[in-house]
Subunit: 139 residues, 2 copies
Amino acid sequence: MEKCITTLLREQGFKVTPQRLAIYQALAATKSHPSAEMIFHELQPVYPTMSLATVYKTIEILKEMNLVQVLNAGEDSFRYDANTESHPHIRCLSCGRVDDLEGVDESVFIDQVAGKTPYRLTGQQFYFYGVCPACQQKT
Amino acid sequence: MEKCITTLLREQGFKVTPQRLAIYQALAATKSHPSAEMIFHELQPVYPTMSLATVYKTIEILKEMNLVQVLNAGEDSFRYDANTESHPHIRCLSCGRVDDLEGVDESVFIDQVAGKTPYRLTGQQFYFYGVCPACQQKT
DNA sequence: TAGAAACAAACAATTGTTTTCCTTTACATC
DNA sequence: GATGTAAAGGAAAACAATTGTTTGTTTCTA
């Protein structure tokens, strides 16, 4: 995996730097869909000189290379996902966590839409909102 | 319709002002899902003293009263819709317009998700992306 | 290992949105 | 209809997320 991203960066003419590897690996290693801020704080202890701007710029590159997708789950900041496959997400309105929705087949729904709209479809994002199991217990 | 929103405002203890009526009606009269900025510019000629802050404050109230819903179609600003029913939207990646998706039945998909997730579902947003008919012709 | 190209970090600028604070307005009561 | 008061409007400043710009540093080729 590390070899992969290293190679990919080189192929696209980007330099391979520890910061870029760290940011990508932080994203690839979690399912928590962190924001730029969250990545920054996670890496801060290991890379004390890392700046938020570097996180944003690296994500920009990863986005360009199709190694991350951007989520916009109705919050005031973006979240990022190293799983670039289109898949639905769900956000807990109580604690704010964002999870993948597993085992859901969206293709039928997408096909239906593709057949009905005059647009030429290129992608989609599905966001569900609710209360996660942990927060349900709290109440 | 106008009587309706006037009454609703009063019932909730809000004052009825020309600005509030104008903002709600601008939203109710269009299917273009305008942003705060767009509403502001539309009303500017009629209410020269109207400020962007008033637009935001009024939208906040309308949101609270469930008279508008907020869209977050992956742009850098929010859009608003006086149709508060949950329904899928599609955005043109070329010109930026946001349309409703008509005649699409999302209930089967939602039911599927409700059955699979441990979350207690409260809502959802579906965003599709593509190229609108007008922009397809341009290319 | 030298040197050019690309980079990271600090800092500043932008942009959408919210807050502040003072003036004006809506509206219940007289 | 006049009036008092709480709420609303407006301008500007504040804010927060993100994006440029600059400058010294690092990577990697030759």
